[in-house]
Assembly symmetry: C2
Homo-oligomer: 252 residues x 2
């Protein structure tokens, strides 16, 4: 490993693009095993490993999940659809085996499980991409979380956090620019609103230019416009607290 400069790992990380069109080639068992092994190697709070991932390859069931996630065609078409669940159920079984009646849980344990699932999934994504596969996260798995619970037989104290399409890419999308580094990283303290607004403005200009070039001038948008639209009440799955409560999570 080099102690400085660029390397194959960083090149892989920086090359990430979400892939929404896949070749029909299956993900092999060897690839899947490496992907899950990489997921398991991620950090986990005090080794609690509070996540479970469920893989769907059957075309009819992929179609069913495509419907449940907002009719995203790539969910039906990807050869492997992974559903990442934040999961305290296995821990409860272990703890009960030690004679505890009920496992204590609260907002902190919900965060622990959510973070554990996310770190594992991101390692899986990186591993998949290093194998020449493409992925896209599917937040739409939270569109109908109760139906997903039924579909997968998820027990109490687990919930579907996001899906992930995996397969051989059949497209090569551009990389959309991100916020300036200074907008997401700060030294010593959180930046002032004035500085943030300046960075957002800079990014709005960059993204608006990017869209204009790619669309031959047809698309006029920027980050602030997109975010105002994205964060409208209708787009914000107002059922999640109720779903989590139904799954037995305590939001206190």
């Amino acid at each position: 490993m080099s102690t400085t400069g660029d390397n194959e790992v960083i090149r892989t990380l920086l090359a990430h693009r979400s892939i929404r069109k896949f070749k029909p080639d299956p993900v092999t068992d060897e690839q899947l095993n490496l992907i899950v092994a990489a997921a398991q190697a991620a950090s986990t709070s005090s080794n609690i490993q509070a996540y479970t991932v469920i893989g769907i390859t059957d075309p009819e069931r992929r179609q069913r999940f495509a419907e449940l996630t907002g009719n995203q065609r790539h969910v039906a078409e990807c050869p492997l659809f992974l559903i990442w669940c934040a999961d305290l159920h296995r821990l409860e079984l272990a703890v009960q085996g030690q004679g505890e009646q009920e496992m204590h849980q609260n907002m902190e344990t919900l965060l622990l499980a959510t973070v554990d699932a996310s770190l594992a999934a991101q390692n899986a994504a990186v591993a998949a991409e290093s194998l020449g596969l493409g992925i896209v996260y599917i937040g739409g798995i939270r569109n109908n979380p109760d139906a997903v619970v039924t579909e997968l037989g998820l027990p109490s104290l687990s919930y579907p956090l996001f899906g992930m399409c995996v397969g051989v890419p059949d497209q090569s999308p551009d990389k959309r620019p991100r916020l300036p580094l200074e907008a997401v990283y700060a030294h010593d303290a959180y930046p002032s609103d004035a500085k943030l607004k300046e960075q957002v403005e800079k990014y709005d200009d960059e993204l608006s230019g990017y869209y204009a070039v790619r669309s031959g001038g047809a698309r006029t948008s920027n980050w602030s416009i997109e975010m105002a639209s994205r964060l409208k009440e209708n787009n914000l799955r107002g059922h999640m607290a109720e779903h989590l409560t139904k799954q037995g999570f305590k939001l206190k």
Copy 2:
């Protein structure tokens, strides 16, 4: 990139160990820039980029954060301490710039920000390790989140999710075994309790053997025992819901 088999990226992912002892060498600006660029390259829900990371290098402030995170010496000793925050504040600024009074938010937006911060942080961890650096996540940043807010000047709609020590490793810890793959990955549906209990038992045996060998027989523990202890009420930061509410998050 190979289409199958092992590669440098997967080797890096599988080689992860948490590092809690660091050489005094600083993390260079070049390394930090690559680490943050890798973080920014991670997937983010609809490009919301709902996280901010704050870097601390000043020794006195690292000492202060060591105290706030449960007197973890490595927090004071690592040359760079990163604090990863789930952050909707920058989004609110952007949305307000579009003439919206207040950004809508709920449990879903809390999850979005928490996941975004986690995916970015895991990319940063992988990038750091590829550069020969070591890292450890510090959940202890949630021990005193209100004090962390004050220390960093965190605005409403952001909260400290975890810290991360970064530096040149001065130790080479063993890799503790994880749960069997079959315990965290399932095909088609969630596994039965009987199957999970079997896997947990297998893991308890493996981990108990691992501890016995490493401690010359002195340490008798296993995963279930550790989890029962870890998940006791006292260890589960009962203040997180209140903290989030104080930071303006809606838990509904």
